[in-house]
Amino acid sequence: MAEEKNGKNGGKVGLLDRVKEKITGDVQALKTDIPTKAKEQIEGLKDPTKTQVYTSIFRHKHDETPRNRALGVLSNVFLHLHPAKINRDAVRYSYTWGMGGITFYLFIVLTFTGVLLMFYYHPTKVQAFRDVLYLEHDVPFGKLLRNMHRWAAHLMVIAVWLHMFRVFLTGSYKKPREFNWNIGVLLLVFTLLLSFTGYLLPDDQLGFWAVTVGTNMARATPLLGHEGPFGPLLGMTPYNDVRFGLLGGSIVDANALLRSYIWHCIGIPIVASVLMIVHFWRVRKDGGISGPAQVMLESEADKPRRGPTAAGA
């Protein structure tokens, strides 16, 4: 076959010609291929939502069809905390006050600012206070960071209280949401404990005496405190009672600082996060947010109800 193709001019010259011919062909094609591809590329970029990268991230169109509005929520791991649709009146601010969501948002803000603060802080008696001074005077935006962490913490306490207040006033703890109310009470306690453990960390007079006052109460724990009822009878002393366990010593000192640091930055946030997951999950599983529901008349109060009533149903 090769001989036939090479023809009478012999093998070697023919080879050179053929290479030349093919390369010219390539060059010719290059002149038309690349501009075509470039044109296609530019055309494609005019609608980035059609690129493979985009469609791999967002798996549906982003338009105003009911299907895609629902998918926008359902196909997003962060948004799918929500149902696709809710009671038309549940979006009214006057019903929920938005306090649960604001509490969660503040928790995120606190985690973010808290992690940044941890870069500048050593939980030791020698360095803790100096670190705060350094943070306030030398670290760029350090003062803002610390202020934000503190005020967000105070705001979170207030938001949690108002959230509980709203949930109570709307009777949202009633069947079938009893258990989630309990998770909420625990989250309230952990919010206060988070704030309280953070109070000691600047290692200043304010935190020191606040925590001293707070933990002195633990001395008086019945049975488990050395000044509490029946405590001494059970062999409680300042060196083995529940206060000793909290402080890691008989006074508020280096161990107390380390313990409150670890509770504040690791222990309680983990527990609170787990409880939050359960809390949000149960909001959905118990039929979404409680209302605004239809008002119930006196005559209907003792009629058996069929299953959990979803909001607005």
């Binding site: 509005r69 929520v73 948004l79 149902p83 649709k85 809710i86 038309r88 009146d89 979006v91 009214r92 006057s94 006050w97 938005g98 969501g101 803000v109 306030e136 934000m148 005020w151 105070h154 306490v157 207030i158 108002l162 207040f165 709203r166 709307t170 009777g171 949202s172 703890y173 009633k174 069947k175 309990n182 309230l188 109070y199 290692d203 007079q205 304010l206 020191f208 005496w209 606040a210 707070g214 002195n216 109460m217 633990a218 001395r219 019945p222 405190g225 000044e227 009822p229 029946f230 009878l233 409680s290 209302g291 605004p292 008002v295 119930m296 008349l297 006196e298 109060a301 003792d302 607005g312």
Partner: protein, 309 residues
């Protein structure tokens, strides 16, 4: 009137949240009351008009047949959440730029702060230390508050008022919660923050905090008034008083429930009712003990070798 003293207390950075809490609470109580009132009116209207009750959509907000009962979360809820996050961030930014977090001198165990105050959200409990021993104010009460909150859904057998604001359908539940939250918790915090000065003494707003002020107050124990001197006598006397309070109070709660809330009472099991009684009486005992102290300077009611109440 010491305006400077007043300003110093109100503007102390850590007291600002409480100053903010007061108008916030007032606003949200108003908001809740407005909706409760509207719902109560609607209920009254529907109760008298059964035909309307069958067709009405049973909410105070407008609704017309053909309107969607539900809206899409995207965008109708998410835009609100996004807006809320932005507003909270702006508030936090402005607050953090304008007001510095407090930082006192380095911790010094040899230099006692006077007054030494717990963080503001625990000041209600610290205020209770005036009237109760630490084991009650610091340990038993917080525990009971937590447990008390947790039992609420299991003792409230009233099916009405689930998912909407109302006052008339839940008078007892709401007034009890308001009593506990506003009067016992928030107002004690306000007293602890703004009123209590050096030595945890009572200083009216605007009064100068006098670190040398001494108050000569002779507190007595209740058994002393009755001339009981022996330890055994005091223990038995206290037991009778405290036991009597719970027995008589329990009976009072029972007769009030039977008379004014017969339906709620009939829905409750014995266990539900006795838990309600117990928490109600413990809660009411708090201001009662405070009154005993404030009016008659009584320190303890029940004295035993192991604990005093």
């Amino acid at each position: 009137m010491d305006w400077r003293q007043l300003w110093e207390i109100i503007s102390a950075p850590d007291n600002v949240p409480i100053v903010g809490l007061i108008p916030l609470l007032a606003f949200y109580i108003y908001l809740a009351w407005k909706q409760a009132h509207a719902n109560d009116q609607l209920v009254a209207q529907l109760e008298t008009d059964p035909a309307m009750a069958k067709t009405h959509h049973r909410k105070t907000w407008p609704f017309k047949p053909g309107w969607q009962k539900e809206v899409h979360v995207w965008p109708f809820l998410l835009r609100i959440e996004f807006l809320a996050a932005i507003i909270v961030t702006i508030i936090l930014m402005v607050w953090s730029i304008t007001l510095n977090a407090p930082l006192e001198e380095p911790a010094n165990p040899n230099l006692t702060m006077n007054p030494a105050k717990a963080p503001w959200y625990f000041l209600g409990l610290q205020e209770m230390l005036v009237y109760f021993d630490p084991w009650i104010a610091g340990v038993v009460m917080p525990t009971l508050i937590i447990i008390g909150l947790m039992v609420i859904p299991y003792i409230d057998t009233n099916p009405k008022g689930s998912g909407y604001y109302t006052w008339k359908q839940r008078r007892f539940a709401i007034s009890t919660f308001l009593f506990g939250f506003i009067i016992l918790w928030v107002s004690m915090i306000i007293i602890g923050t703004f009123i209590r000065g050096p030595g945890w003494q009572w200083f009216w707003p605007g009064q100068t905090w006098d670190h040398n002020r001494l108050i000569y107050e002779v507190n007595r124990d209740l058994p002393d008034i009755f001339g009981i001197t022996s330890n055994l006598g005091k223990a038995i006397f206290g037991l009778v008083i405290v036991g009597g309070y719970f027995a008589l109070g329990g009976f009072l709660v029972y007769s009030l429930f039977r008379r004014y809330m017969p339906k709620d009472f009939s829905r409750m099991s014995l266990l539900q009712f006795s838990i309600t009684q117990a928490f109600l009486l413990i809660m009411v005992a708090l201001p009662l003990k405070m009154l005993l102290r404030l009016l008659w300077h009584i320190k303890y009611v029940w004295i035993t070798p192991w604990f005093n109440i």
